[in-house]
Symmetry: C2
DNA sequence: CCGCATCCGAGTCGATACTG
DNA sequence: CAGTATCGACTCGGATGCGG
């Protein structure tokens, strides 16, 4: 089974890759936290209390891999690791904020649609 | 430069909900197809050949539930079902296209970052 | 033609325990 | 402090078969 997309446009693949990243359960939460400035691992963990250590680590790794986040290790004892957005990460905030603003602005319309839908679908 | 998304607030949930929707494997593909105009179920199925009937059905249901897509049944024989974007769905195209444009524009930077990352991580 | 029901494998998420 | 390792629960997506 190949992840090949029959959709001809090459660009489509990149769009989907990006969506897969930011569509992750924690990605946006982390990126928006970091938009305020560098944070330590434990700060992020404390700030997003519901996240598990594992998911925080792996999400940060993914973001680092794609060049949105920079990881800075200070080999002291105890060790210290800071994370911050790269230029690319900051650039991403633009469209991301736009989407976020849209979601906030239109949440009522979505909510209405959901209630209308449920009203018409007995059971389910 | 400053985060426009209010963290720790109710808004955050709506943003996440939206991302969960459009982060789905097929959502964007379907929405972009429908942006050109109404389409029948079988047209969509044919156009996105790799999608399974199940996923097409369930994704359309999700989009309908959130008010992005309207479903019109013509009870003829054989039956006929058309799907089209609602006004809300069309509005969503704005931020969605912005994100898509960003992905296309910055694909090289992401690609570079990935290669740089891989070069520094032997094995893994 | 449309799409629901069911089963199943693969990947994801998360709690817990352990290391430098 | 900042992770890694492991294992189970859960969810997603695909295949197939049936029904209106």
């Amino acid at each position: 089974m190949k992840p090949q997309i029959a959709h001809n446009s090459v660009d489509c693949r990149h769009v989907k890759q990006l969506l897969n990243r930011i569509g992750g359960k924690w990605t946006v939460l982390i990126v928006t936290r970091l938009s305020r400035g560098p944070m330590r691992f434990s700060e992020l963990k404390r700030d997003i209390s519901e996240i598990s250590q594992k998911m925080l680590t792996s999400t940060l790794r993914d973001l680092e891999e794609d060049g949105f986040v920079r990881r800075a290790v200070t080999p002291s004892i105890p060790p210290r690791v800071d994370y911050e957005l790269t230029d690319l990460g900051h650039d991403l905030l633009g469209p991301l904020d736009a989407l976020g603003a849209w979601a906030v602005k239109n949440k009522d319309r979505v909510e209405e649609a959901r209630q209308r839908y449920r009203a018409l679908q007995p059971g389910r």
